[in-house]
C-alpha cells in the first residue's frame, strides 16, 4: 500500500514537470512516461510503456550513439545533448536530452532515466539570430565583421571604388560578390580577374582587350574584361602584384573611366564599378615604391579590412555549422556536428589559411567520417598531431607543474623511441613497470 502511494506521488511529481521524462529498464523497455513526454512525442503513456524506447523516442542518435545505452554502459550521465526526434505526426522536433542511471536501494542498476526539453522555440530564435549573423554568403558575429555588415549595403549603393584588404582565405572575394549583389548593378555582369595569375602583357590584353593586328596571332578583335563587365562590376584580385606599367593604365581608367584596347586608336568609354583586393599591405608597398601612391588613393576610396580567422574565433562554431550544412547537401551525408574535442582543437588552432583552411578541414573530415559526429581522428593528422601532444601537456600545466614536466618528458621519450617502452625505460633509467604505471597514471599514448 505504501509502495502504491509513493508510486502515485512519484507520477504526480513527474507529470508536473515541464520537461519530458521517461525511464527504461535494462532491456531498454519504457517503464514510465510523463505527461510532457506525451505532449512532445505525441505518444500516449499507454502506447509508450512496454515498448522499446527507440521505437517511441526515435531520435537521430538512437541507432548509432544512443545516450541511454551509453549511460548504462559507462555509468556516466549525459547532460544537455542536442538531438532531434521524430514525433508521432512525422515531424522533427529538436530536443536537448540528459540521461542518468537508475539504481535500486541496494545500488544495483535497474535501468536509466532520460529527460528531454523541447527546443523548437529556441531553435527558431537561433535561426533568427543566425540570420542576423549572415549577409549573402558571409557569416560572422565578430564585431569587426558585424560593423562591415552594417555599412556594406551603403557601400554597395555608393558605386565608389572599394579596396578589400585581408589575409589569404579571409573571404575577400565573398565580400566583393556581396557588394555587387547588393548594388543596383546586381543584374549586370560580375567579372573576376586575378592579377597575380597572369603575366603582365597577357594581363593587359585580358583587361583592356585588343584589336585585330595588335600583335602576331591577333586575328580578330577581342573585348577585354572591362568591356565584358560593362554596366556591372569588375573585381581585381591580388592588385598588389600588378606591374608599375599596368598600374598607370589602370589609374587612367579609374580617373577618366576610359581606355584604349591594345593596338586600338579609339578611346572606349566604360561604365564599370571596380572592386580590388589584396593580401598585401598596400601602404607598405607604396612606401617601398612598388605601388603607385596616386593609384593607391584612387583605389582606397572605401577600404574594408578583413580580420584573420584567429582574430574572430567566436565565428568558428557558426562557420563549422555552416560548412557542415553545405557539405551535407553537396555530399549527401547526414553529419550533425563535431565532437567537443574537435571543437576545442578548432577553437585553439591558428588557421594560417583562415576561413578557407577551416572549410578544407571540414571537407577532409567529410571524406573520412562515416558517423554522424566528426571526431578528432577524422581531421588531417598533420594538424592534430601537435594538438594531442598539447592535450597531454595542458592537463598538468596549471595544477601540477612537476607532474607536467614528468609526463612531458615521458611522452617525448616515448615518441623518440616510436612507443618502444623498453627503450624508453632504459633511457629514463626507470623500471619498465614504473614506466607502465606512469603511462597509465598520466594517460599517455
Amino acid at each position: 500500500m505504501k509502495t502504491g502511494r509513493s508510486t502515485s506521488f512519484f507520477n504526480i511529481i513527474l507529470d508536473s514537470i515541464a520537461d519530458g521524462v521517461f525511464t527504461i529498464n535494462n532491456q531498454e523497455e519504457i517503464t514510465s512516461f510523463n505527461r510532457a513526454a506525451e505532449e512532445i512525442t505525441g505518444f500516449s503513456r499507454d502506447e509508450a510503456i512496454g515498448q522499446y524506447c527507440f521505437n517511441i523516442f526515435r531520435a537521430n542518435i538512437c541507432q548509432t550513439e544512443c545516450a541511454l545505452r551509453q549511460t548504462i554502459k559507462t555509468g556516466k550521465p549525459i547532460i544537455n545533448k542536442h538531438v532531434n526526434i521524430l514525433d508521432r505526426e512525422g515531424k522533427e522536433v529538436p530536443v536537448s536530452i540528459s540521461t542518468s542511471l537508475l539504481r535500486n536501494e541496494k545500488g544495483k542498476v535497474i535501468g536509466a532515466v532520460e529527460t528531454f526539453r523541447d527546443l523548437s522555440v529556441v531553435e527558431e530564435l537561433k535561426k533568427e539570430i543566425s540570420r542576423q549573423y549572415s549577409l549573402e554568403d558571409i557569416i560572422g558575429k565578430n564585431y569587426q565583421i558585424q560593423s562591415i555588415f552594417h555599412i556594406l549595403p551603403d557601400i554597395a549603393e555608393s558605386d565608389s571604388t572599394v579596396l578589400i584588404q585581408g589575409p589569404s582565405g579571409s573571404g575577400k572575394e565573398l565580400f566583393a560578390r556581396a557588394i555587387h549583389n547588393l548594388s543596383h548593378r546586381k543584374d549586370d555582369p560580375y567579372i573576376k580577374v586575378n592579377c597575380g595569375a597572369l603575366p603582365d602583357t597577357l594581363l593587359e590584353s585580358e583587361l583592356f582587350g585588343y584589336m585585330k593586328g595588335a600583335f602576331t596571332d591577333a586575328k580578330r578583335d577581342k573585348p577585354g574584361r572591362f568591356a565584358l563587365a560593362e554596366r556591372g562590376t569588375i573585381f581585381l584580385d591580388e592588385i598588389g602584384d600588378m606591374s608599375q606599367a599596368l598600374q598607370i593604365k589602370l589609374l587612367r581608367f579609374l580617373q577618366e573611366k576610359e581606355y584604349e584596347p591594345l593596338g586600338g586608336i579609339i578611346t572606349v568609354k566604360a561604365n564599370v564599378r571596380t572592386i580590388t583586393a589584396t593580401n598585401k599591405n598596400l601602404s607598405d608597398l607604396v612606401k617601398n615604391g612598388s605601388f603607385r601612391e596616386d593609384l593607391f588613393y584612387r583605389l582606397n576610396v572605401v577600404n574594408i579590412e578583413l580580420p584573420p580567422l584567429s582574430k574572430r574565433r567566436e565565428d568558428i562554431p557558426l562557420l563549422i555549422e555552416n560548412f557542415i550544412g553545405k557539405f551535407n547537401l553537396k555530399k549527401g551525408k547526414n553529419i550533425i556536428g563535431v565532437s567537443d574535442t574537435v571543437m576545442e582543437f578548432l577553437m585553439t588552432y591558428d588557421f594560417p589559411g583562415n576561413v578557407r583552411e577551416l572549410e578544407n578541414i571540414i571537407e577532409y573530415a567529410f571524406v573520412l567520417c562515416k558517423d554522424m559526429i566528426i571526431k578528432i581522428k577524422h581531421l588531417p593528422r598533420e594538424l592534430t598531431h601537435d594538438f594531442q601532444d598539447r592535450e597531454v601537456t595542458k592537463r598538468f600545466t596549471l595544477a601540477h607543474p612537476l607532474k607536467n614536466a614528468e609526463a612531458d618528458l615521458i611522452q617525448k621519450t616515448l615518441k623518440k623511441h616510436q612507443g618502444n617502452r623498453i627503450e624508453t625505460a632504459k633511457e629514463l633509467k626507470i623500471n619498465r613497470s614504473t614506466l607502465w604505471r606512469k603511462i597509465k597514471k598520466y594517460d599517455l599514448q
Partner: protein, 132 residues
C-alpha cells in the same frame, strides 16, 4: 516486386533514414525470391530516397518517417507502409501474408512471451489522403 526494410539489427529501423543498412527483398506471389542487404550509413534523407529509387524499390516498410520523405518516396512511385515496429522477419511474414498495415507494432517483450501474434496497432496521425 521489390520491398525495402531499413534495419536496426534484426528490427525494423525505428526511424527512416538513420539506419546503417536496408534489407532488400525480391518478392513474387507471396514468396521471397532473393534478398540482400545494402549499406546506407551516413547518407542524408534525400539521398536515401534517391538510392531506393535507383535500386528499383516498389514498397518500403519502415518505422517513423519524416513527412517530406514520405511524399518524396511516393512521388518516386514507391509505396510506403509507415509506423511499423517489430522484428523485421515477423513484419515480413505479415507483409507476405497481406496482413501488414501502417501502424503495426508487435508487443513482444523479452522473457515475457509474445503478447498476441497480431500485435498492436497505433493509428498513424495522418494518412496519405489527408496529405494530398
Amino acid at each position: 516486386m521489390k520491398v525495402a526494410i531499413p534495419l536496426f539489427g534484426t528490427w525494423v529501423s525505428p526511424r527512416f533514414g538513420y539506419s546503417p543498412e536496408v534489407w532488400i527483398l525480391n518478392v513474387e506471389d507471396g514468396e521471397v525470391i532473393s534478398q540482400k542487404t545494402v549499406p546506407m550509413v551516413g547518407l542524408s534523407l534525400p539521398f536515401w530516397c534517391n538510392q531506393l529509387s535507383h535500386l528499383g524499390i516498389d514498397a518500403v516498410i519502415c518505422g517513423g518517417i519524416d513527412r517530406v520523405c514520405h511524399y518524396k518516396l511516393e512521388s518516386l512511385g514507391i509505396s510506403v507502409i509507415p509506423e511499423v515496429a517489430g522484428e523485421a522477419i515477423e513484419v515480413l511474414d505479415l507483409f507476405l501474408a497481406g496482413k501488414l498495415e501502417p501502424g503495426f507494432r508487435n508487443c513482444r517483450r523479452k522473457g515475457r512471451g509474445f503478447k498476441g501474434r497480431r500485435g498492436r496497432y497505433f493509428e498513424p496521425q495522418w494518412t496519405t489522403d489527408e496529405k494530398k
